[in-house]
Symmetry: D3
Subunit: 145 residues, 6 copies
């Protein structure tokens, strides 16, 4: 059956960060980022939603096994981010502003190459990151949006 379905898995991580551009002095950082630039950090409970697109395997009824997708996200992403400092502790965020926009792109670049391990006909479709109940960002790579 060639019908294409989107399947999504939500994972969580709790992390510290600050929004602070090291090329600017403290005053300019405070003017641009306000309390998000607090030198002693702040933090969030982040919700991460990863969406995969692909055909359904007739034998399982799955696009991909969401337990396997959960394990992949935990191994490659959550272990790097959970109970960590996004500015100091995370390899893929080195030399980047610790914004949600940069985090979702970093997550996309790690996951995009690995989804075919779960199903060779499936592909990463979207990465969404909720920072608070009111703020979230999405990255779709070259998918239409």
């Amino acid at each position: 059956m060639s019908k294409t379905v989107l399947v999504s898995r939500k994972e969580h991580f709790n992390a510290a960060h600050k929004l602070y551009n090291p090329k600017w002095d403290n005053e300019k950082n405070m003017a641009v980022f306000g309390p998000c630039a607090n030198e002693n950090w702040h933090g969030h409970n982040f919700d991460l939603i990863v969406t995969i697109k692909g055909p359904i395997d007739v034998n399982t009824g799955f696009v991909v096994d969401l337990k396997a997708l959960s394990d992949l996200i935990k191994t490659t992403i959550i272990n790097q981010l959970d109970h960590k400092n996004l500015n100091l502790d995370v390899d893929f965020m080195k030399d980047k502003m610790a914004s949600c926009e940069n985090i979702v792109i970093g997550i996309w670049e790690i996951l995009a190459a690995k989804i075919s391990e779960l199903n060779p006909e499936a592909a990463l479709y979207k990465v969404v990151l909720h920072e608070t109940r009111n703020n979230h960002v999405e990255y779709l790579g070259s998918n239409p949006s």
Copy 2:
């Protein structure tokens, strides 16, 4: 007015199922599906979100009356699924794996033909099914995704 808007209605159902491929023996089912293959079933509170696309009727301000859409979903879908066993009790799931992927396609196929009864210029756009707070699937038919 020819502007196109998406309108969505959420409905709920509580159902039992298991993930079990009758072509495989019990050992292989356990290896592939883990506890989801428990022979005595398990179940979920499912959230179903149906999205319709169409122009706005000037007299009502509606694409479709969401009360009428709710009634249509209840009559054609929820009555078949709520407090039921998705493997045993549901005509449109006969001979299919009882996965969310197959359920959303089954729901799409029932609803797609009926939306024009609500508004001849409106069409089914998307069906989303949340199985747990962390897992959901979406089907858009031939709409772009």
Copy 3:
């Protein structure tokens, strides 16, 4: 960096309205809109989600500063709608049915021209309005959907 990201901000307002077409008599309004036509009004806690699309500013890591987007939405939209009557108190709803479909289009038309003030390379992508936990509408202008 030219990668395009979607960023979203949720705001809230509490408002009264009724669904009532003044060209129809009371009986027809009741037949079409049911209790939503109650002459003494009813109301909702509305959730409004505004999504912006654009490239990331290297210095901030932002598509747009979501605090600035929040301020823009509050100044131009929420101040007109919160603790108001959508039929009587809102300039952009004059002579329109007070439906969510018409509200999201009205919000789009106000915001679309102002997003470039936040980032000249960013643009309004989507406006979503949740009226109840079960009903929501979306407008994407001429973006694909």
Copy 4:
């Protein structure tokens, strides 16, 4: 079995109201209630949670049948409040300020006498009313709090 359990049912209603003391002039009402005094009303999606306390019936496993409790709440409370104006349309709110505090007491007084119809050994324990995601009130009658 004489163990006592609390069972709760959530229902919903959408209503308009304003906070306005007719003994005060408009200026004082605005000073005290701010935008909640808007003469043209505003409204909310209210969540109502009713909690019953009692022993378990051995034959059903229930304190009370929550479907029967739901029907009782709908018949006696929701039908009076849903898609209504709390200041104008509701008998039990006549001559009272349309605050959540007065609404929960009114609901308690209606329900308290009727719970024994569901189970003669059960009693009303608590009424909770959520007006927004941030504001809620509770009334426990003479139960300890």
Copy 5:
């Protein structure tokens, strides 16, 4: 420091059940329990919240380590209930109606004896079980309610 604090941990399980009294015939079960008596089962995503009461340990700042409480709940409760049939698969539910009321009492009886392993001065205070977004039950043992 002798101040007493309540700490709570939420866990989840997905299970099948039916409400069916084997002393009654099918017709009476249908009359009493309606679709909940469907012979082929239905199911839910259950949310379980366990609350502990006790003084704060000065060295940790904890009443009990919530990670240790989570592990205890998973080992003693969730492993028995998750992806199971509450009528057929669960030792502590044998010969009882598979209602939430009976489940919370069964959970209380298992956990009450084990909390002192986490902190000898702490005790089980409350067990809450949410069966749907609208229905939940609570048991407090001999604590005041």
Copy 6:
């Protein structure tokens, strides 16, 4: 009118912290607190719910004006905690473990003396702090629990 009602207001703050006892070496901190002891901090979106108990003012229908309560919580609590480091930046947490248990007691001690400014007959009843969707703590002072 002498009926007593509970009214609650929810506020939010985003903060960094770590669980780290300075009397212990790093190895013991890791053994006790696991990743929560990460030296570079982690963080959360905290939800704070403050409950007040008192009689209803006949003129307003309020126990206390929840807008005034919100302002009091923001001025005395949220301004100290939001976008801050709970170990380094908060006066009332000095020399205490940065656990939720200690935070709710600290919040209680600040607020308890100030509620009578809002209504001399009202009193602080409960402080609840949600650290994640699964973990929360409550403090009731000397109120029964």
